[in-house]
């Protein structure tokens, strides 16, 4: 059977074979579907033939499952969008943090010069501490000396 006429459109015979569910091999049906997918003229002829033919009824209606699929697809799209947005924010923060860390030493203002008095303060504090400790040791030495003197005196 000739599926196409010389002008490249489907023959009436091919369309009738399709509508009447006549024997057509897989390649023929693929070529018909391929043509109907882009040719307005042949699709119109085909749907006009179907308008006069009894239509088939599917065993299961797609209405309920269609809305389930619409919902799951919408959810998947939303999830994907939020995941993309979260990844973009994370990336932006990482880039921002990286650029700040690199440029921080250059941006940090110079510290004010420490006055000379303050620079000497640790030394003075250290001297005072040393002095206090010396006095504390001397006090114990004095106490130790006072305790040993009577004994020495007693022995003597």
């Amino acid at each position: 059977m000739e599926l196409f006429d010389p002008s490249g459109h489907l023959t009436d015979r091919a369309l009738l074979a399709l509508v009447r569910n006549e024997e057509l091999d897989e390649l023929a049906r693929l070529e018909l579907a391929e043509h109907l997918a882009y040719c307005d003229r042949c699709l119109q002829r085909y749907t006009a033939l179907l308008a006069d033919a009894p239509l088939l009824v599917p065993a299961r209606s797609c209405r309920e499952s269609l809305w389930r699929r619409v919902r799951s697809r919408t959810l998947r799209l939303l999830t994907s969008r939020y995941a993309t947005a979260a990844a973009a924010v994370a990336l932006a923060l990482t880039v921002l943090w990286g650029s700040t860390a690199i440029s921080l030493p250059q941006r940090r203002p110079a510290l004010p010069e420490v006055p000379q008095q303050l620079q000497r303060w640790p030394e003075r504090w250290s001297d005072s501490l040393d002095g206090a400790l010396s006095r504390f040791n001397a006090m114990f030495d004095d106490l130790g000396g006072a305790a040993s003197r009577p004994a020495q005196g007693g022995n003597a």
């Binding site: 006429d5 490249g8 057509l24 693929l30 579907a33 109907l36 997918a37 749907t47 179907l50 269609l66």
Partner: protein, 173 residues
């Protein structure tokens, strides 16, 4: 109809479900596959409902259904026609057997074979193989989608190879 609600789209599904199923079944000849393709058609229609031309719903849904059936048949065809071992090779390294066979033959023989090819392969092979036009140019010249030109060219080359092999076996064109 510009604003589609769930109710209005459900009415559209109810109105055209049998038509879409009939188109899918007549093309794929498998009830279960036709049911799945019907659902795929309405899902695609719902996702692109804003582009549905008012008053042409029948044609528009018929076009989507034919496209879904075509994709189904095309993938089934590809699964069956891939040679054993081809799938393991990277596409760039697999030997294009059609190209080799065609290159080895005389140009005049090829032209004669292409002239005797049937629609829809003859104009595609003539433009792409004889006139060395790109698939995009052939698509523009023939008013077919570029993807269709690619698949028709691949199938046309396969038909040519088969004819050349037959000619070698029998010694005639």
């Amino acid at each position: 109809m510009a604003d589609w609600t769930k109710e209005s789209f459900s009415r559209l599904v109810e109105q055209y479900e049998r038509l879409v199923y009939t188109i899918c079944f007549q093309l794929v000849r498998d009830a279960a596959a036709a049911e799945d393709l019907t659902q795929d058609t309405f899902l695609a229609a719902y996702l692109h409902r804003d582009t549905m031309p008012a008053g042409y719903e029948r044609q528009w849904l018929g076009r989507i259904a034919a496209n879904k059936a075509k994709d189904h048949l095309q993938s089934a065809w590809n699964r069956r026609t891939v040679l054993p071992g081809d799938e393991a090779m990277p596409p760039g390294l697999s030997p294009p057997t059609e190209e080799v066979a065609i290159a080895q033959s005389e140009a005049a023989d090829i032209a004669a074979l292409i002239d005797r090819m049937r629609e829809p392969y003859r104009p595609v092979c003539r433009l792409c193989l004889l006139e060395e036009r790109s698939p995009e140019e052939a698509a523009l010249a023939l008013g077919r989608p570029v993807k269709t030109i690619h698949t028709q060219l691949a199938r046309g080359k396969r038909l040519l190879r088969e004819q050349l092999e037959r000619r070698e076996r029998h010694g005639t064109v």
